[in-house]
Symmetry: C2
Amino acid sequence: MTTTNGPGRPRDPDVDRRISQAALDVFGELGWAGFAMETVAKRAGIGKASLYLRWSGKEALLTDAIRAGLPKISDVDTGTLHGDLVELATQVLALYVGPGSRAALRLHLEAASIAGVAEHYAAMRTAQISAARHIIRRGIDRAELPAGTSVTLLLDTLVGGAMMHALTTPPGRRDTLAAGAAEHARALVDFLLHAVAAPA
Amino acid sequence: MTTTNGPGRPRDPDVDRRISQAALDVFGELGWAGFAMETVAKRAGIGKASLYLRWSGKEALLTDAIRAGLPKISDVDTGTLHGDLVELATQVLALYVGPGSRAALRLHLEAASIAGVAEHYAAMRTAQISAARHIIRRGIDRAELPAGTSVTLLLDTLVGGAMMHALTTPPGRRDTLAAGAAEHARALVDFLLHAVAAPA
């Protein structure tokens, strides 16, 4: 994993995680207009100076936080297409039902207009889509899917279906969904694999 | 169609549409923090006074603009399930590939915390989901779908798949998608109807 910041990066993964989560929370709530090193430091419970020791500015901080918060699609490799798709759907459900949901939605709105973040975010999105497409193509190569499977339709409905399910779950039922994310992901994947397995 | 404003509502549907679009544009770009009657009036090219003649305040204005901009799911009734789903998917694609996309995403983020808008938006969402579920149930009643069809999975993947496709289409290709929305919608619906038609 590459990072945009230098040798001063924190070594403690707990602190790292707390800072990333604080950065995504602040961005999700206030957007770029309200995103400041001081606000993130306060939210994470660390000093502003030590944040500056680790990140040169808020662009680098937000870029690293986004990278840490995105689903790790390129790491998904369970050995079967079914297992890979369940893991992918579980990650998307967890993202949109969890505390990172607001930040993820806001990135769709604002990322392209934030200098110093836009290009990194676009590159991460491209890499994510490419990793997801690779999962499907691997399934076709292994003959787990018919050769004519539409990679685009399968991914749109898998990722979009997981996102939509999380976004339309009422606040009072989100904890239940978060706890049962893998189970819902399996139902979603089974549903979609019928689509590609059916005779045209 | 019910409205939240009184007898002063504009009669000219062109002006109506321009005001609604201006309101959604301003909200999409600036959020509630930057949403002001004066800004919307300027954007729509009408006087601020005539906006106040028609709407008592910005809550009512935004509520009406949201209602006008949402897909008209309750009006969808083509006579066949296939036709209804294509129309639904076309409306969702058009929304998220068009100028209302930013407003739609921002509503997910902000609507619940805007007093005077939150309850109307929640009621509209509930009505939308209920109208969409009714389309699927009508298809089951007509035996166009197996009785055991998961209404939730079919709607999540249809609406989410259309939304995701629009959101991941690069800016340079959005006009092409907008022009071919009905064609993509048909491919999406055909893909998903295989899912429910396949033997379990």
